[in-house]
Symmetry: C2
Subunit: 153 residues, 2 copies
Amino acid sequence: MRPVIDTRLPIGEVAAQAGIPTSTIRYYEKQGVLPPAERVNGRRRYDSDMATYLAVIDLAKQAGFSLEEIKTLLYGFSDDTPPSKRWKALAGSKLAEIDQRMEQLAAMKLLLQEGLDCECLRLDDCAVLLTHLSDRRARPNLHHPMSHISGRT
Amino acid sequence: MRPVIDTRLPIGEVAAQAGIPTSTIRYYEKQGVLPPAERVNGRRRYDSDMATYLAVIDLAKQAGFSLEEIKTLLYGFSDDTPPSKRWKALAGSKLAEIDQRMEQLAAMKLLLQEGLDCECLRLDDCAVLLTHLSDRRARPNLHHPMSHISGRT
DNA sequence: CTACGACTTAAAGTCGGGTTCAAGTCAAGA
DNA sequence: TCTTGACTTGAACCCGACTTTAAGTCGTAG
C-alpha cells in the first residue's frame, strides 16, 4: 500500500495559526497543559484543530486561570464530565477572586484620583494621605514622613 | 561631654511597627526605594517616623505603583517639587492602566459567568465558547477542540 | 555533498518583589 | 569569659510563564 500523505501540521504552522511562538507550545506540552503531541521522525504533528485548542487555553488564561488551573480544567476530571461541569467547579472561586481584585482596583483608583485633586505642598499637610494611612494601621505618629522630599525640613 | 543616648530605632523595631519583615526594609534600601540608613556601629538606625514613611510606600504600592515608579515618585523630582506635583506627574497614566485592567476584569467576569450559565455537554456545542473565540481571531475551524475531554469524539 | 530552514532537546536566563541562607559582628547579661 | 539575640553582608533561591541559547537532527534543493 502506498504511504498516505501526512496532512497534519508541524509546530510552526500551528504556532502561526494560533499567533504564538513555537516555544510556548513546547512549553505547554512540557508543563502538561497540552497532551504530548505525536511525533513523525521526532517532529511534532498536530491536527488542524490545534489552533482552536490553543485558543481555548488562551481564553481560559484571559479568564484569569493559571496554567495549573487550566490543566485541572482540561484533564482534572473524569472523562465523562462535560465542559459545563468542569467550568462550574472552578469558575465560582475565580469569580470571587475577580470581585476582590476589582474592589482593590476601585480603591486604587479612588486613591489616585484623590491624590490628583490634592494641592498640598508637604506630605504632612496632605489630608488624603492621612486618611488612607489611618485606614491602614492605628494612626502612627505623623511628623514629617517625606519632608526631605518636599524641600527643607 | 557625656554621650547622648541614641533614641533612634533599630531595624527590627521599625519592621515591627510597619508590620513587615526586616528583610524587606534591607531590600528596599538596596533597591534605592529607601535612602541608605545611617549606621551606628554598622547597624541601621531610623527616626521614629520611618514606619510612616514605609506606610506611604505601601500606600503607593496599593495604588499600583511598582518599586521603580515609587523611586521616581520619591526621588525623581527636583527637591522643591511638592508631593502634589509628583503625584500628578505619575497618576494619570496609572489611572489609565487601571481602567484598562478593570475592563479586562469585567470581560473575564462576563466570560466566567456566561460559562456558568452554559449547559453544553461538548465544547463544540458551546455557544459561549464560540462567541469568545470568534472575538479573538477570524473564526478558525471549529471541529472538536476538546473532544477528548468531553468524552467520545 | 553541502547548505538551508524548520525542527529537536535540555538547560539557563528573564522579570519583579522579595525571602532565605551562611558566615560574621556587636553589645549586654550571667 | 561565654552566650545569646539582634544585627550585618552578599549570594542564592523562590514564584509563574515564558524566552533564549546551544548543540544536534531532518528532509529537501541545488
